[in-house]
């Protein structure tokens, strides 16, 4: 196994009286694609959000690319540039063009000049197949295009790992393919990816490992074939049965 890029240990998260993560360990190697599946409310999104500290874990440790994310001395804004995140609802900035969305952090955080940022931004849009939409605002783009711009916004910062939080759940079925296509090409370029999603077909042929979570804990993990064909736990079997009926 390559050296781990993400090393999370003993993660607990409480929301008031709700115990959402109950001691989760997750290690992800360089260039690995890990799929996290599980019923809604199982804590998979919270786990993802703890990795870049959008959510503050109640206890545990998170090390990403050698940086202790929970150390108060860590410059979190600097660290977050290495961790791309793609959201279910895209969260593009509606008052900016696609290029503006992609270049904002390049200019304000990475300290690039406008010309440098625009060159990098256009290259990132090119990678997601939207070079010709640079001047469009999110309102003028389809859901699939918006999500691809959101991916471009992350990859423009050259992250070491990308987190996908249900990237296709808000999309009409016919638009899902274009987003998965971009994710597949990212994978081929060697990007380390952690994906929370129900796209089982994609998981089957692209994931190195599938992690099944339920009630705030990891129930089992393994290669997609093993998890999908012969899960060890009853809960996994039930869940996989349920989603495959759809």
């Amino acid at each position: 196994m390559n050296r781990p890029i993400v090393d999370a240990r003993g993660l607990h998260k409480h929301f008031g009286s709700l115990h959402v993560l109950k001691g989760v360990d997750l290690t992800v190697a360089e260039r690995e694609l890990v799929f996290v599946i599980g019923p809604s409310g199982s804590g998979k999104s919270t786990l993802l959000r703890c990795l870049n500290r959008l959510e503050e874990p109640s206890s545990g440790s998170v090390v990403v690319d050698g940086i202790d994310m929970l150390d108060p001395r860590t410059d979190i804004n600097h660290a977050r540039q290495r961790i791309g995140m793609v959201f279910q609802s895209f969260n593009l900035y509606p008052h900016m063009t696609a290029l503006g969305n992609v270049t904002l952090a390049l200019r304000k955080v990475a300290g690039k000049s406008r010309a440098q940022a625009e060159a990098l931004g256009r290259a990132a849009l090119e990678r997601v197949g939207l070079a010709d939409r640079a001047g469009h605002t999110p309102g003028q783009l389809s859901g699939g295009q918006q999500q691809r711009v959101a991916i471009a916004r992350s990859i423009a910062l050259e992250p070491r790992v990308m987190l996908f939080d249900e990237p296709t759940s808000a999309l009409d079925p016919e638009l899902v393919g274009s987003v998965l296509e971009v994710m597949r090409s990212l994978r081929e370029s060697g990007m380390t990816m952690i994906v929370v999603s129900h796209e089982m077909g994609f998981a089957r042929n692209a994931a190195d490992r599938v992690v099944f979570m339920d009630e705030g804990a990891i129930v089992e993990a393994g290669p997609p074939a093993a998890i999908f064909e012969s899960p060890a736990h009853e809960r996994t079997r039930t869940f996989i049965g349920q989603i495959q009926r759809h």
Partner: protein, 220 residues
């Protein structure tokens, strides 16, 4: 009628006085509107701090200055503070009173605007490494202002009208000058002129506001 309300000679004679007042009203507005906006922005940003140590005093502050009549506030500053040994000119008193009063109003409007921007916007910005302040400045505020533009404009209209309160503390703005001209000429014509000037100055803003409000309704 015409002799006492629309007397042409008096219009001509009093115009330089009234015009000086108009100029001061414009200058006063150019001072108190930005002042109120800055005060409001500070309050709105503080409102995003949910800690009770910030939250309760902030709420008390905003409630107090929204409930307190601005005229009373102004007179208190102008006529009350000298008894505490602090003699501020009418102009400074107007500036302070407007900062406190209109700041509280602008603050509530901007806070509503900031609240109208989905939390996912800040999360997306922060996930790319923007600091909290950068996320607010580049991502949240532009959307917040656009969402409450009609309310901001409507409040600004009120603020410009309220500058006439300056006449009470001898700030030579439009109303004060018109009253001067009235007592010099023993004729209310200058007051009518001032009223028309106010209307001509603010009517385009009212029209713009209506159009914005209609567009906001249509966009819903």
């Amino acid at each position: 009628m015409i002799q006492s309300f629309f007397n042409p000679e008096i219009i001509v004679a009093s115009w330089p006085i009234v015009r000086a007042g108009l100029l001061n009203t414009v200058l006063l507005s150019l001072l108190v509107v930005p002042l109120g906006l800055v005060g409001g922005l500070m309050l709105a940003l503080l409102a995003s701090v949910k800690h009770p140590v910030v939250r309760w005093p902030l709420m008390a502050w905003v409630d107090f200055f929204r409930a307190f009549p601005p005229l009373v506030l102004l007179i208190l500053l102008f006529a009350g503070l000298p008894f505490a040994g602090l003699e501020l000119g009418g102009f400074v008193c107007v500036a302070i009173a407007f900062f406190l009063n209109t700041g509280a109003y602008y603050g509530e409007i901007l806070r509503a605007g900031i609240d109208s921007v989905p939390a996912g916007q800040i999360e997306a910005a922060r996930s790319t490494g923007l600091s909290r302040l950068q996320a607010i400045a580049y991502v949240v505020l532009p959307q917040a202002v656009r969402n409450v533009l009609p309310d901001l404009l409507s409040n600004t209209l009120e603020v410009v009208k309220l500058t006439s309160l300056g006449s009470v503390v001898a700030v030579p703005e439009l109303l004060y000058q018109a009253r001067q001209a009235q007592s010099l000429t023993y004729n209310p014509t200058p007051l009518v002129v001032a009223a028309i000037v106010y209307f001509l100055m603010l009517w385009p803003v009212v029209r713009l506001l209506s159009r914005l409000e209609n567009r906001a309704l249509a966009g819903r």
